[in-house]
Amino acid sequence: MTKTTSPLAFVDSFDDERTGLPGIDLPWLKTLRRDGIERFKGLGMPTPKLEAWKYTRLKPLEDTSFQPVTDEDGMAALDHVPSLLPDPGGRPRLVFVNGRMRPNFWIEGDLPDGVHLDCLRDVLLRAPDWAESYIGSLTGEDAAALVQLNTAMMDTGFALRVDPGVIVETPIEVVYIGGLTDRPVAYFPRNLIVLGEGAQATVVKHHVGMGVGAYFANAVTEIDIAQGARLNHYEVQAESRDATHLGAVNVRVAKDATYDSFTLSIGGRLSRNEVSVRLEGQGAHAGVNGAYLMRGSEHCDNTTRIEHLAPNTSCREIFKGVLDDQSRAVFQGRIVVNREAQGTDGHQLCKTLLLSTGAEIDAKPELEIYADDVKCSHGATTGQIDETALFYLRSRGIPEALARNLLVQSFLGEALEEIADENIREAFTNKVLHWLPAACFLSEEWRDA
């Protein structure tokens, strides 16, 4: 398969009347899909010639021709759900396998009144007008190629709507399972999260690979947070080692509202998380944080853009990475402060630890500032484990492997601390611990000490 045919393969396989596609009867959605594929065709697959893709090449998409998911792929046998949060109990949980919602694993949970959680298909059936007003409203017409592709192909996803003033205490978990099929499949989740005034919710997304097959997940999440509302948005990307995961999150934050996110990337042959936050109202705040742990020849790209569009908005961004073997990570973080956004307070930090010769980090922290009364800073560092600290631990009788693990763990701690919810922080910390080399099991006894 040559380079040029691959994006066209998506275009060729585009069929807005394919059976099983959600919202097939909705004319507006059909138009949206057609516009999407046309724009994608015009833009083509991103190449490193584009500044935003300077360090990430979509090689797997060039090499493999991905097929749309069939019912069979979606109904693959599943013996357990790799839930991120222990003991789901009464916790609401949605489970998708290869992009198909699996009702038998769906836990409705005890959600308060005024909370509507559905898969995309049901939302398009039950509240098409509501869906019409939100789908594509945050990505915009001039969205990037892969968002356009998702718009054209969206075949799965969920919608969460929280009415004004409703506070959802329990975290809502959404599990996307990839793999479990021997064909290279592609699925395109489109998620909507809309919080009314003063509402609060926590969403945990778990993209996880089972089995070994190559697959391609291209997800787009649109989030609208109304005045005074707060969304905690946590995500673990643990796709299988041949998977390609490209996710885009577009967020609009209104006056005095908060968007708080954490993305932990620990899998995937190639992954990219693109977060774009617009702070549109006074006093809006965004916390965009994450950690990436890569090994083998994995490649992880975190690209963020936080736009300050109103006065007295603030943002905080902390990304930490650990790279082993021949893995590679990219961090591109941009903070834009518009003229109107006087009194902006922005802070960005990206630190990467290289564990092996051969690992590579490319960081591009950017500040673009047009207002003068601002306090903005960014920092970026790369380096290896501090030999002095390692010596200190070893001199106290801690074996080297464990000492290294402890140092990596404490290094990541600064980022993990940004997760406000204690249970989720613990779940994420456990993910990190299990990523570490085997000696980590020893480290559990040290953890609480």
Partner: protein, 485 residues
């Protein structure tokens, strides 16, 4: 933190201050016809009596240039350049006879220098600075040559070096900035007309600061200097470059190339004060300053240090860089950039670490006022072989007024686990550590801020040789206090 009213007042004052050095001297130029073609390249080469290999090199560059797209990645905007609407060669007529002393030089030219304050006639004022003054592409006066010759230093116009030491020129020209490098550098390779050549022999510490003043004078003449400095083993040289240009309405293109080569244990210090005409308040006129400056630390323990104070030009596009090839080599970049009115500056540096234990330091201060836009764009690259390499980068930006912009675009690429890269950038903040340190010693916040800011700016200014520091301080002129706080 908002800028103090005092600072604002001073910036306003500066904005209103008419460009002091804006005047045109009326001397007949011996121009090549307008436009750019292979014939013009041949014309320039013939004028300079150049050897065949150089003409071939120029032509190769010209042909390559035709195929290159205009670089568009920098955050600057300007109308497309009509390369055919410019003169590529002009020389003051006096050069035909070759002035033997100051007396022979066109008095009008000397008057120009006096207005600009180059003390050709009062050399004692400069005490130890040899001036190779460039007036529209051709060197008209060189001083202190004998003293330099005593120790074996070659400091002369590039054209002259082609006669004096063709082997050195041939060996090093284009080895740091190849003719294929970028559109502007390639254009320079094809049509460069003048520039300086410096060779410091092994073990020699150059006895004086070397200095060249560049001027742009004849209307519609782009200047294409090419400077080549070679510091042989265990040598040291400090080179100063400064510019002011007469006021005019049409934009002028200035695409210079500077190549530095430091061999084992050698050190080159290159300082610039750039004050080309920036255009008027509405952005009319002004120089396009598209410069490629690059140094190669080829030898072990070599060092290249760039210091720049950029206050002029309508558009600055400049990234003095260091290629740290030799083990333990050191690269430094100190920069103060000030943009006002409609000026645009996209400047920074590249530190390419190739050798073991190489280290680099980047200190950049940007001050943006009026409607100006300024970008720091830098690259720090650690190659897989750069074991133990180290970089520290600090970029501070200050915005004065709400119509300007300041941007920071650093690229950090590390392929070596033992390499340490630290980058920090702030807009209107002082490091808490510094403040804490001063405050715990009983210094009030206000005074501490002033002290830190002064100290920090001085750190960059101090990198300049004395003769320049005065001029630079004057140019930086606008209040330093509040520039970080």
């Amino acid at each position: 933190m908002a800028a103090t009213t005092e600072t604002l007042a001073q910036v306003q004052e500066m904005a209103d201050d008419k460009y002091k050095y804006g005047f045109v001297t009326d001397i007949d130029s011996e121009n090549a016809p307008k436009g750019l073609s292979e014939d013009i390249v041949r014309f320039i080469s013939a004028k300079k009596n150049e050897p065949e290999w150089l003409l071939e090199w120029r032509l190769k560059a010209y042909r390559h240039w035709l195929t290159m797209p205009e670089p568009n990645w920098a955050k600057v905007g300007f109308p497309a350049i009509d390369y055919q609407d410019s003169y590529y060669y002009s020389a003051p007529k006096a050069v035909g006879d070759g002035p033997q002393s100051l007396d022979e030089i066109d008095p009008e030219l000397l008057a120009t220098y006096e207005k600009l304050g180059i003390p050709l006639k009062e050399q004692e004022m400069l005490a130890g600075v040899a001036v190779d003054a460039v007036f529209d592409s051709v060197s008209v006066a060189t001083t202190f040559k004998s003293k330099l010759e005593e120790v074996g230093v070659i400091f002369c116009p590039l054209t002259e070096a082609l006669e004096k030491c063709p082997d050195l020129v041939k060996k090093y020209l284009g080895t740091v900035v190849p003719y294929t490098d970028n559109k502007h550098a390639t254009l320079n390779s094809a049509v460069f007309t003048e520039g300086s050549f410096v060779y410091i022999p092994p073990g020699v510490r150059c006895p004086m600061e070397l200095s060249t003043y560049f001027r742009i004078n004849a209307k519609n003449t782009g200047q294409f200097e090419r400077t080549l400095i070679i510091a042989d083993k265990e040598s040291y040289v400090s080179y100063l470059e400064g510019c002011t240009a007469p006021m005019r309405d049409e934009n002028q293109l200035h695409a210079a190339v500077v190549e530095l080569i430091a061999l084992d244990d050698a050190e080159i210090k290159y300082s610039t004060v750039q004050n080309w005409y920036p255009g008027d308040e509405n952005g009319k006129g002004g120089i396009y300053n598209f410069v490629t400056k690059r140094g190669a630390c080829r030898g072990r323990n070599s060092k290249i240090s760039w210091t720049q104070v950029e206050t002029g030009s309508a558009i600055t596009w400049k990234y003095p860089s260091c290629i740290l090839q030799g083990d333990n080599s050191v690269g430094e970049f100190y920069s103060i950039a000030i943009t006002n009115n409609r000026q645009q500056a996209d400047t920074g540096t590249k530190m390419i670490h190739l050798g073991r234990n190489t280290s680099s330091k980047i200190i950049s201060k940007g001050i943006s006022a009026g409607h100006a836009d300024q970008t720091y764009r830098g690259l720090v690259k650690m190659s897989p072989k750069a074991d133990g390499a180290r970089n520290f980068t600090q970029c501070d930006s200050l915005l004065i007024g709400d119509q300007c912009g300041a941007h920071t675009v650093p690229y950090i690429e590390s392929k070596n686990k033992s390499a340490i890269v630290e980058h920090e950038a702030t807009t209107s903040t002082i490091s808490e550590d510094q403040l804490f340190y001063l405050r715990q010693r009983g210094i009030p916040v206000e005074a501490a801020v002033a002290l830190v800011v002064n100290g920090f700016c001085r750190e960059v200014l101090q990198q300049l040789p004395m003769e320049f520091a005065v001029e630079a301080q004057k140019l930086v002129g606008i209040s330093l206090e509040g520039s970080v706080g």
